[in-house]
């Protein structure tokens, strides 16, 4: 990826980071690409880490277990119970917890040296989990209210009567049923894509200005560019966490809304 770009940029002029930087060739000529490996690795990392932390299951937790419970409790109590309510939240906790960790780890790949690629900047992955979220919240609603009951619940705002419904029902259907997986996907994909592109831009730009161009002013700009790349990387850490949180939070809110008694 970046190595190829650097080589390319060094030969033919200033680097031009773009979508092509995200189009990685298959490893060793195969169809298996880096993000595929990273996704598989994320499952191994998450399960190994959290199994090790959860395994003691002690009444008085050790350091590892305490750290694990901090994350688990954050999703379980801070997101699931807070939004879905203490009556029904329990059965959605494993899903929301998996979702949070899956997005978080795959996002954090973007700032881990050597790996340095956020899996979620390939739209297929956020789309996959957004579709799952869509299936889960709609499934929960349909299981509770029946197909037509759920459709009515999601599309007819409470207390609305008359011709205004002709306008409202399609709008609600669009926003509550059709667009939610799209917005979930785009939000996560776009922030990861743009963030990674920004880091690439400032890192490669800095490198080019410092090493491959002659004017002194360019060197100054190069230093500035590298500093910005580092600063943006730190900002990215925050955004990576926030996106994982937002994705999980929104899913739990959709579930909560789908199974709510009143609109």
């Amino acid at each position: 990826m970046t190595l190829a770009s650097i080589a390319f940029g060094a030969v033919t002029g200033p680097p031009s980071p773009g979508p092509s930087d995200f189009d990685l060739p298959g490893i060793a000529g195969s169809a298996v690409t880096k993000p595929m490996v990273l996704v598989a690795l994320s499952v191994v990392i998450i399960v190994a880490l959290f199994y090790a932390m959860a395994r003691p299951a002690a009444v008085v937790p050790g350091r590892m277990q305490f750290a694990g419970e901090l994350v688990y409790g954050f999703v379980r109590n801070g997101i699931a119970r807070e939004n879905i309510g203490s009556h029904d939240f329990q059965k959605y906790v494993p899903f929301l917890f998996s979702l949070f960790l899956f997005v978080l780890v795959n996002n954090f790949y973007g700032i881990i040296p050597v790996i340095q690629f956020p899996t979620m900047s390939h739209i297929g992955y956020p789309l996959a989990i957004a579709v799952l979220s869509w299936l889960v919240y709609n499934g929960a609603g349909i299981a509770k209210k029946g197909f037509l009951g759920y459709l009515k619940h999601e599309t007819v705002p409470a207390g609305m009567k008359g011709p205004i419904l002709l306008l409202l029902v399609p709008l609600e259907f669009l926003s509550n049923i059709l667009l939610r997986p799209v917005t979930l996907t785009l939000r996560l994909f776009a922030t990861m894509f743009a963030g990674h592109l920004l880091v690439i831009l400032f890192a490669l730009g800095g490198e080019y200005l410092l090493l491959h161009s002659d004017p002194v002013l360019n060197k100054v700009a190069g230093v500035f560019s590298v500093v910005l790349a580092i600063g943006i990387s730190f900002l990215e850490i925050l955004i990576m966490f926030l996106q994982a949180y937002v994705f999980t939070l929104l899913t739990s809110m959709y579930i909560s809304e789908a199974i709510a008694d009143e609109h």
Binding site: P14, S121, G124
Partner: protein
């Protein structure tokens, strides 16, 4: 500079027909498969362990609270028992004191009665003794007075009244008259 870079990037994308918004089917499938694996493992293995720890902790805390409540109840019962015992003991002490007081009074009364009886007895005895002595003295005196009077009268009359029986009768009659007059 940046705008030209971005522009160049856009151009580049168009050239290579790269659109990051078009998902690869392989990636969707792989994402779904690996997420499903993750979900399964978290659901079946990891989350139950955390929940188990939570449940055990809750149970431990609730158990502790129950234990404390039981101990408190026990302590309260013991306190009540002791209070009751104390009240009983106090009551008993009061009863004993009362009884002792009564007994004391009774003893005093008895002693007093006894003393009185003794005193009476002594008085009676003394009376009887005095009476006896008086009677003895009186009898003695009777005899002596009789003989003295007889002797005196004999001297005066000059004759010896030998007939003692008659003499005695006379004397006795005289004394009885004396006594009658005295009474």
């Amino acid at each position: 500079m940046i705008s030209t870079l971005v522009f160049a990037a856009a151009e580049n994308a168009e050239e290579e027909e790269l659109n990051p918004l078009i998902p690869h089917l392989a990636e969707i499938v792989i994402g779904l498969v690996f997420f499903a694996i993750l979900l399964l493992l978290i659901w079946k293995v990891v989350a139950p362990l955390f929940e188990k720890a939570y449940a055990e902790r809750t149970a431990a805390i609730e158990g502790g609270i129950e234990e404390a409540q039981a101990a408190q109840k026990e302590a309260k019962a013991a306190l009540e028992q002791y209070t009751a015992q104390l009240a009983g003991a106090r009551h008993e002490a009061a009863a004993i004191r009362e009884e002792a007081k009564e007994q004391g009074a009774q003893i005093i009364a008895e002693l007093r009665a006894q003393a009185q009886a003794e005193a009476e007895r002594i008085t009676t005895t003394a009376h009887a003794q005095v009476e006896a002595e008086r009677a003895q003295v009186l009898a003695q005196l009777k005899g002596e007075v009789g003989s003295m009077a007889t002797a005196l009268a004999g001297r005066i009359v000059g004759e010896v009244l030998d007939d003692s029986a008659a003499q005695k009768r006379t004397v006795e009659r005289f004394i009885a008259e004396l006594e009658e007059s005295a009474n």
